[in-house]
Symmetry: C2
Subunit: 269 residues, 2 copies
């Protein structure tokens, strides 16, 4: 018995699992293009489940496909569209501190006279100026009602082979400075995983999440009753992740190709 | 009996008390130039006690004096020189994420192969790039021994009439991202206030701190057994400060001039 037994649905993180982000569109992780082809040709249900918030899903899919993948925007679950649906449901008008390339996802929203702040990964657009602006919007709200939403809760990720601070860290700064509590839209938020399960149409117990983030991917999935498997690619770090104090993955794999091999071997057994 | 009775020593915050920082050297707060003249002409002992970390004390004094103050660098206690003394004592080699204009204070230190990170208020020099660099230095250290020093712990301050994020907020982000605990050099750190009291040569019970920061100035001083008085200038905000859940100042004054009036009236009574 391995973590792969009886799996019907697969949730896949993208960055650090399918490819490593970086300049010139990043680089695919060895074996991952073929692994996704084999997954798609199998009976397994799958959904890409990413906290990517620096671009629209359409642009993200197009970037991936240049590496040889064959992924469509609607196969990707990402925080921005889920956030937009929530803002509409609650009739909220956001101040957006998000990457310019993802603004298009929010174009249907009223952004005048903002009553909440939405923070995405802005990369180099995180500046003292843009952060101060978002901070002032938060502080202008009543102290008991400062609404801060973060598109993901990651502390850091790997880009061009180097670790960079992720949106969760910036959100933590604003939380601290404005004495408020952020709401996360994205992994490891239960509602985000629930939406993925619902779109996939499988039970949590029959689903595995494959990711490089020990907390957001593995821990988040396990908290939902799914299995969580960590790849030893992307931001994986042996010294920090394998002895993690609270999260123990259901399995480790060297890379996505090994994970898909185990799944396909197991399901055909 | 008011907070001013029996005071022998006065610690004065500068930014938000003597002047408001901003473009073109900022603007003095009405009445503060004359108030400092009267303080200097009195029997009261005094020390400027600032968390300013964007410039050297000499440059800071020169900037203030353009507004008509008569302040020398050695009348100012600020975090950078205290930090330098600590780094030398502990034989530490810092990675400096500090404002370019304060680098001169650190010139006597070995900065090769860093084994700690020192964070000051970098203003517009806080960029995703400079923050990522400092983060990577922290993460390169053993998880149990990530040394992060912050030149101050303020959440935010007022500049050009607008609130801006202070070094304490950025330090909180790095703390969170790198799973470490910052050491603060500056208010409200007890050792920083102790050095001020020692340089002043008065007992804590005979000393008052006058500042615009309810936590760093007022709360920090009170925790040392000093009195803490908040000015209603600078970053003071009635709605957030007066109902503060944990810190109750020994007194409020509309501005520095009122504080000095009360002190001089009280000491001559």
């Amino acid at each position: 018995m391995t973590w792969a037994n009886g799996v019907k649905g697969v949730l896949l993180d993208i960055t650090g699992v399918l490819y490593n982000s970086g300049s010139c569109g990043g680089t695919p992780i060895v074996g991952s293009v073929e692994a996704i082809q084999r997954l798609k040709a199998s009976q397994l249900l799958y959904k890409f489940c990413s906290n990517e918030s620096t671009q629209t899903r359409a642009d993200f899919a197009a970037k991936l496909n240049k590496h040889g993948f064959d992924i469509s925007a609607d196969e990707i679950l990402s925080p921005a569209p889920v956030m937009v649906a929530l803002l509409k449901r609650e009739s909220l008008r956001p101040h957006l501190l998000v990457h310019p390339d993802v603004l298009a996802e929010f174009s249907s929203l009223d952004q005048s006279n903002p009553d909440c702040v939405v923070l995405g990964d802005c990369q180099e657009h995180f500046t003292s100026c843009s952060l101060n602006q978002a901070f002032r919007v938060l502080l202008s709200m009543h102290a008991d009602n400062r609404k801060l939403y973060a598109l993901g809760a990651g502390k850091y990720y790997s880009e061009n082979g180097e670790l960079v601070l992720d949106v969760g860290s910036y959100a933590r700064m604003l939380e601290f400075a404005a004495d408020c509590t952020m709401n996360v839209c994205g992994k490891p938020q239960p509602a985000f995983f629930e939406q993925a399960l619902q779109e996939l149409g499988v039970k949590a117990s029959e689903c595995v999440m494959i990711g490089d983030d020990i907390v957001s991917d593995v821990g988040g999935a396990q908290a939902m009753g799914m299995r969580g498997v960590q790849v030893r690619t992307g931001k994986y770090r042996a010294d920090a992740d394998e002895p993690h104090p609270t999260v123990k993955p259901d399995g480790y794999v060297d890379n996505l190709a090994e994970a898909i091999n185990m799944l396909l071997t197991s399901s055909s057994a």
